[in-house]
């Protein structure tokens, strides 16, 4: 792919309390691509996301987000939508689905400014795009189902001037139907808006049906390539200690009901 890199890491190393979490990681995420990052527990997947977002500073190496450092002046965070690992928020927190999506615009509205009518309309339009009917838009977040809540958080990640969507374990704890719906919406968004997507997940079945490229991480990059190349690589079993998915699956044609996404 010759598209410019939205995310670029060169020889990035991160240690936390003396333990090396990421070891000389280099990767490029081209514009418009769908990159899946997989790996066993403790592989450093979430740390990688936090490095890209500028929330963790690497010990060495360089990180570029839209060609600039992810934190500091002139950063491009307003172009990034982030969905952190499924949150354990207070279900009674007094905000509606619309209020939560509006939070996604806080960064681009700027400090000491109030949301305009256009901001509110953008939040409503985002919720409609991800399939929310009017009566759900004003519903308190705690009264929505787990799948609907996750779609609201996806809406919040989209409601800025988003060009890169980073999803960290987005379907943890969701049932199969909610997972299918979630990835179908993500796929549609990528197609319609031309977004670049980076997903960190254990959910190889779903990712196999969605992602263009895949990286298997375990402190360092174990395998990298197209989804098919990575899932058929013997190095994958080496990273996990076993094959992390049924061997008889047919990629992109039907893994655990994720075909046709």
């Amino acid at each position: 792919m010759n598209s410019p890199a939205v995310v670029s890491l060169e020889e990035v190393c991160v240690s936390i309390r003396g333990v090396r979490i990421l070891d000389h990681i280099s990767l490029n995420v081209p514009e418009g691509s769908f990159l899946a990052v997989i790996g066993p527990n403790g592989a450093g997947k979430t740390t990688l996301v936090r490095v890209i977002l500028g929330l963790v500073r690497p010990h060495s190496g360089t990180v570029r987000l839209f060609g600039r450092p992810p934190s500091g002046p002139h950063n491009q965070k307003h172009l990034v939508g982030y969905l952190p690992q499924r949150q354990h928020f207070d279900p009674g927190f007094p905000v509606s689905a619309h209020d939560v999506v509006m939070m996604g615009r806080v960064g681009c509205i700027g400090l000491c400014r109030y949301p305009s009518r256009a901001d509110k309309e953008a939040a409503t339009a985002t919720l409609r795009r991800i399939g929310f009917r009017d009566e759900l838009i004003t519903k308190p977040i705690g009264e929505l189902s787990g799948g609907q809540q996750q779609l609201v958080f996806l809406g919040r990640a989209l409601c800025s001037h988003t060009r890169l969507l980073i999803l960290d374990e987005p379907t943890n704890g969701l049932d199969l139907v909610a997972q299918r719906t979630f990835y179908r919406v993500v796929r549609e968004l990528q197609r319609d808006l031309g977004l670049t997507i980076l997903v960190v997940s254990h959910d190889i079945s779903a990712l196999a049906a969605c992602a263009d490229r895949m990286i298997c991480l375990k402190g360092r990059v174990y395998v990298e390539g197209t989804t098919r190349e990575v899932l058929s690589s013997p190095r994958l079993a080496e990273a996990y200690g076993t094959y992390p998915y049924p061997l008889n699956v047919t990629l992109r044609e039907g893994i655990d009901g994720f075909s046709g996404l």
Binding site: L53, G92, F93, P94, V95, D99, M103, V106, L111
Partner: protein, 276 residues
């Protein structure tokens, strides 16, 4: 109303309303950020700051403001660094500050009637200067909350995502700690060290019980704070009770009523908040 015939009661009423508005507005974020125990810790530590002021013959409100802010920042620093949990740090600092206050008071020569006013509150002794200080502090703090409302709400709901969006979460957190410290100190004269934290929690929790929307929660919170201050002051005058305690009892009564009627528990209403 008879009780407003006295100038000190008029001052007390204005002070009560100002403190009611200020504390209830701040309490929204104290409750949403789950910082109720921070309010308790900071208000009790005010005794140490007041005692330092009395002993050094400095304005006790000023010394308490500095001391409480330092205690609040220490709570934030130690807990944010992950060395100890927030409630553990508060438990240590609040008891140490109170102990320091008691020790210093015992060193102060003679009887210190002012100290007992700070301990239990004496709204009837509010001076014109106290009113001016309270009015300035209320204006500045409410302006801060209004200007950074959306950022504070985002931080309270999801700190990680707020940080990732480029919001200066650490700065806002320490600003909120400072706001709590200053609010406690300017309310101490009215409610006392022991009860000042009550109005930093009860109004917003009452709003939380009656509304599922932060706008409704804020409106109920401010209404509860002002109502408690006015009715509490009137009752204290009529029944000859300490004003700070009466105000807090009024607020607590409103909370218990809200708790019983709360649509969150579906007792009377299902599906809708009373003040949504």
């Amino acid at each position: 109303m008879d009780f407003l015939a006295y100038e000190f009661m008029q001052r007390a009423l204005v002070a009560g309303i100002l403190a009611g508005i200020l504390c209830s507005a701040v309490s929204l974020f104290v409750v949403l950020q789950r910082m109720a125990f921070v309010g308790v810790g900071v208000s009790h530590s005010a005794l140490g700051g007041i005692a330092i002021g009395v002993l050094m013959t400095v304005n006790p409100v000023l010394s308490a403001a500095v001391f409480c802010t330092l205690v609040a920042w220490a709570i934030g620093l130690v807990s944010k660094k992950g060395k100890l949990s927030e409630d553990t740090v508060i438990g240590v600092l609040f008891s140490a500050s109170m102990a320091l206050g008691i020790a210093l008071i015992s060193l102060a020569p003679g009887y210190q009637p002012e100290l007992f006013g700070f301990l239990f509150g004496n709204i009837l002794a509010v001076t014109r200067t106290d009113l001016v200080v309270l009015a300035i502090a209320s204006t500045v703090i409410i302006l801060f909350l209004a200007l950074f409302f959306k950022e504070l709400l985002f931080m309270c709901f999801d700190e990680e995502s707020a940080r990732a969006s480029g919001i200066p979460v650490d700065l806002l957190y320490f600003a909120l700690l400072t706001v709590i410290a200053v609010t406690v100190v300017v309310s101490v004269k009215i409610l006392g060290v022991v009860l000042a934290s009550a109005l930093l929690v009860i109004p917003a929790v009452t709003g939380y019980e009656l509304s599922r929307n932060f706008r409704g929660m804020l409106a109920v919170s401010v209404g509860c704070g002002v109502f408690s201050a006015v009715v509490g002051l009137w009752l204290s005058f009529e029944l000859n009770l300490p004003s700070g305690a009466t105000i807090v009892l009024c607020a607590a009564s409103l909370f218990f009523l809200a708790f019983l009627l709360s649509p969150r528990r579906g007792r009377l209403q299902k599906g809708t908040g009373m003040f949504c």
